[in-house]
């Protein structure tokens, strides 16, 4: 906590505190000056906070837990909730060891700080992403619950005059069986949480065989609030004296404001407070957002072409950029690429082969299209500190960058992380694509709190894209029609190398090719390579990252090879997974779930011609296999059923897993059926959902999920359900129509009914 120890967070006056975050305001107001007590109303003495400054992340119990007199438990989660259920999972894990029913928990996102950097193997790092949350913090959060329980028992021992060894707990209470006495956690908390935290090694964790809440379909904690409009998102944040702002972005990134021809008129428009020239954007501040938006839209701006080289991490959008032309350029990209994975000698085998199967596949750019448009509220306080209500997947990174933008010390920036109205990778630190730099600049300029909301149109203009890829496949078969060699050369740029720059030592971005690499099939000669082509677009992470497209590319070509060799694609997969018990079981599980593998085409009860496709993926430490059943209706692909078996090793909440698989299936289908972010003349063709359709309810199939627990190390859940879906659908469509679908979205292809 060293870097936070000089942080002053006592602010007696919080009259301007956020309306809907008043409890945190109260807690801040009542806390001491020490950093450790920043979230707690339970007077943790400053001296003790200092004495414990060197504690390992995830062990300072009072930084995470507050137990109120009524026994409810407030937990600060290292991970942000955006629909994936992580708040509930955290309550289950901590509650299991604390011995407190998760239903008694209130969970909020923790502020920045070393205490919350609990991700195993990633010291000093904190994100919500990569489907990492539960699997990297499971041990730490269990230990945290156990430490808190030990503290409650120690406090109870003193109050009951009985040795700890005679005490036990039942949910929410410490019990002294010998005397029949007990004390509620709420009664014990003031004394307990003032105690020194015991040695983390001293606590024993519960035997998993005795789990009450972990592995159970515990109800989510946030569902009632989200069903009644009470849940608060960044876009809803309100503080006293707040102004609203809307922006008009330059049509292309890198352009700057020349003049605003009607600036005086804008200033005179109803409700307008002021007009501001920001980097690449006109901002209008007004009493109400609609007035701000109306004026921002009315601004007649002479945009100036970019001059000089772009700032680091910024790309100037060329005036003639077209995604179709860029795809063609990727297709023509010369060379064999840099090797990401190799086994045997694929180039040699392919070179000597009599017959080579070759195909080129395409995956388009896609938008995040989370339903909540980005919004940020910034407030400078009289003491020079900054409060920021900002949707984010990485509070510490936002704190550091916001501090830079505001010109103050990071410790003087308080980051509030509200619930996310969907994220899917949208809320990582993308300064040119997030409104917080604008909110900070405007709040500073007008001397009042300012909330910036990007209209949906401005969001589509500045959203970061999931990379595009054009992948050239070659394969050859042995005499029995089994794959002997496979080569995938993908022309693309990975999201990480796009965001942080290429590795100086020439290491490739693994996210560029994940899903082409890491396949378990026993093909003796394999080569996966990347031809790095820098994109003129700003790239970002999208749910399932490289896997979101690469498994589509690979698994579709796999079926082409199966067809070439006269093999059934399901049987061929089983055969090439022989000896791999985990994946064999998984593939059989999804086959079972679908009533037994049948590829079709067949005629369904309603008379439609249908076929099924199968695909697998190994994303984010989990394994998944999908089967899709499709027909063609009026030239459009209809997916009727989607079966998925998923093996995350071991689980925390089966109900949340099922919900997450449904969600991932929906996004995977949306992508394969409909989504493509197209640019023409340097500008996105779609600026709203009318031109960028996302999966509507009437195209959602029945989804059948089977969770397989192989006992392998715990994998992720938020993303792994997605990657096998697009290829399962594409394989079914290709088989049904006899026409190989080699690009997403399928809406770009025409089919006959």
């Amino acid at each position: 906590m060293g870097d936070l120890s000089n942080r002053t967070l006592t602010r007696p006056e919080l009259s301007g505190g956020p309306v809907n975050l008043s409890r945190r305001g109260f807690l801040l107001a009542s806390s001491g000056a020490a950093a450790g007590s920043l979230v707690l109303g339970l007077g943790l003495p400053g001296s003790r906070a200092r004495a414990q400054e060197a504690m390992a992340p995830g062990t300072r119990v009072p930084a995470f837990l507050e137990i109120r007199p009524d026994g409810t438990v407030r937990l600060l989660s290292p991970f942000v909730e955006g629909g994936q259920g992580v708040f509930t999972a955290m309550a289950q894990i901590v509650g299991e060891e604390l011995d407190a029913d998760p239903a008694t928990f209130v969970v909020e996102n923790a502020p920045p700080g070393a205490d919350y950097q609990v991700m195993e193997g990633m010291p000093g790092f904190r994100i919500t992403g990569g489907s990492l949350s539960v699997r990297t913090s499971y041990a730490a959060m269990r230990r945290l619950g156990a430490l808190a329980r030990a503290m409650l028992m120690t406090a109870a021992a003193a109050q009951l005059g009985a040795p700890v060894s005679e005490l036990s707990t039942e949910p929410g209470r410490v019990v002294h069986a010998a005397s029949g006495r007990s004390l509620g956690y709420g009664e014990l908390a003031p004394a307990a949480l003032d105690l020194p935290v015991p040695d983390p090694e001293s606590v024993t964790l519960r035997d998993p065989a005795e789990f009450r809440w972990i592995r159970q379909p515990v109800k989510r904690l946030d569902v009632y609030e989200k069903s009644t409009g009470k849940a608060v998102f960044a876009i809803d944040a309100q503080v006293e004296g707040m102004l609203h702002a809307a922006v008009q972005h330059a049509p292309r990134l890198g352009m700057t404001i020349g003049t605003i021809r009607n600036e005086d008129e804008l200033r005179a428009m109803k409700g307008v407070h002021s007009v501001h020239h920001l980097p690449g954007a006109v901002a209008v501040v007004a009493e109400r957002w609609w007035d701000a938006k109306r004026a921002a839209e009315a601004a007649q701006v002479d945009w100036r072409e970019p001059e000089g080289a772009p700032e680091p991490n910024l790309r100037h959008m060329p005036a003639d950029f077209s995604t179709d032309a860029f795809g063609d350029a990727l297709e023509r990209a010369p060379g064999d690429g840099e090797e990401a994975e190799a086994k045997g000698d694929a180039p040699k085998v392919l070179g000597e082969a009599e017959t080579v199967v070759g195909a080129t596949y395409r995956a388009p750019f896609v938008n995040h299209a989370q339903l909540e448009p980005p919004a940020t509220l910034a407030r400078f306080n009289p003491d020079g500190t900054l409060d920021l209500w900002v949707p984010n997947q990485a509070p510490d990174m936002f704190q550091a960058d916001a501090a830079k933008q505001a010109g103050i010390e990071p410790a003087r920036v308080r980051v509030h992380s509200p619930l996310l109205g969907g994220f899917f990778g949208r809320h990582f630190l993308y300064p040119s694509s997030n409104p917080y730099p604008q909110a900070i600049a405007l709040a500073k300029a007008v001397g009042r709190p300012v909330k910036v909301i990007w209209s949906r149109e401005e969001e589509f203009l500045r959203d970061r894209l999931r990379p595009m890829a054009v992948t050239r496949f070659r394969g050859t078969l042995d005499a029995d029609g089994l794959p002997l060699a496979l080569e995938a050369v993908s022309a693309c740029e990975g999201p990480s190398e796009a965001i942080s720059g290429r590795d100086k030592d020439g290491k490739l971005d693994p996210m560029a090719t994940e899903g082409l690499t890491g396949k378990a099939y026993a093909i003796p000669n394999v080569r996966v390579a990347q031809i790095y082509v820098q994109n003129p677009t700003m790239l970002g992470y999208w749910r399932s990252v490289g896997h979101s497209m690469n498994d589509f590319l690979y698994e579709s070509f796999f079926d082409e090879m199966a067809d070439q060799g006269g093999q059934d694609p399901y049987e061929l997969r089983l055969r090439l997974l022989a000896g791999n018990e985990r994946l064999t079981n998984l593939l059989k599980a999804v086959g079972d779930l679908s009533g037994g593998w049948r590829r079709g085409p067949f005629t369904a009860e309603d008379g439609s011609r249908r076929a099924r496709g199968v695909a697998m993926a190994s994303p984010f430490g989990s394994e998944a296999a999908s089967i899709a059943e499709v027909s063609i209706e009026e030239g459009e692909v209809r997916v009727h059923d989607l079966w998925q078996a998923i093996d995350p090793g071991s689980i925390v909440n089966p109900a949340i897993i099922e919900a997450q698989v449904n969600s991932a299936v929906a996004l995977g289908l949306s992508q394969v059926l409909l989504e493509e972010a197209r640019y023409e003349k340097g500008q996105p063709v779609a600026r709203n959902f009318d031109m960028y359709p996302i999966l509507p309810p009437d195209r959602m199939p029945r989804v059948h999920v089977r969770v397989v627990e192989s006992g392998a190390p715990m994998g992720g859940i938020g993303e792994p359900g997605l990657p096998s879906v697009p290829p399962a659908v594409a394989n079914a469509v290709s088989h049904l129509t006899g026409q190989r679908a080699r690009r997403m979205p399928l809406s770009r292809l025409s089919f006959e009914s």
């Binding site: 989510r220 569902v223 409009g229 998102f233 339903l371 619930l419 109205g421 209209s455």
Partner: protein, 152 residues
């Protein structure tokens, strides 16, 4: 101009052509109704106007003067709305939750109009977008509610 919202009368200052959504959210501070697209594509902004589900982002505020408007904030004051919320909780419908105010409003409007709707009626009305893909959970909750209507 005076507006009737959730059985209370508010006097509002916004221009007549301001979308109802922004009057509700900014001027009245009722932020349960959400902005998703502003062009009647997503349904996040759904409210009831005289019982009819309405996309408030494209509804000029002066067009609803004299109408009885219901927002998500008052949903549990309505018997049908309360049942919808219960079903949403029972089926654990929301994920990120951002679209759900609108989904609940649309469901309530339908069930008030038609207590046991057919699958087709449900499909025709429940058209709001959900980026988290909660469609099957919504369907299951609606099927329960439709049955419940039959029994009751």
């Amino acid at each position: 101009m005076e507006l009737r919202i959730n059985r209370e009368t508010y006097s509002v200052q916004s221009e007549g052509d301001t979308p109802l959504l922004w009057v509700i959210r900014d001027e009245l501070g009722l932020t349960g109704t959400k902005y998703g697209c502003g062009i009647a594509q997503c349904g996040a902004c759904s409210v009831l106007v005289d019982g009819v589900v309405t996309r408030s982002c494209v509804t000029p505020v002066d067009s609803v003067e004299g109408s009885e408007i219901t927002t998500i904030e008052a949903i549990e004051a309505d018997e049908t709305g309360r049942r919808v919320v219960e079903a949403w909780v029972a089926h654990q419908v929301p994920q990120c939750g951002y679209c759900q105010s609108g989904q609940v409003m649309a469901a309530t409007a339908l069930l008030r109009e038609s207590p046991n709707p057919s699958e087709e009626e449900i499909a025709a009305v429940m058209v709001n977008l959900c980026r988290c893909g909660t469609y099957n959970a919504i369907k299951a909750a609606m099927a329960d509610l439709a049955d419940g209507g039959e029994r009751g």
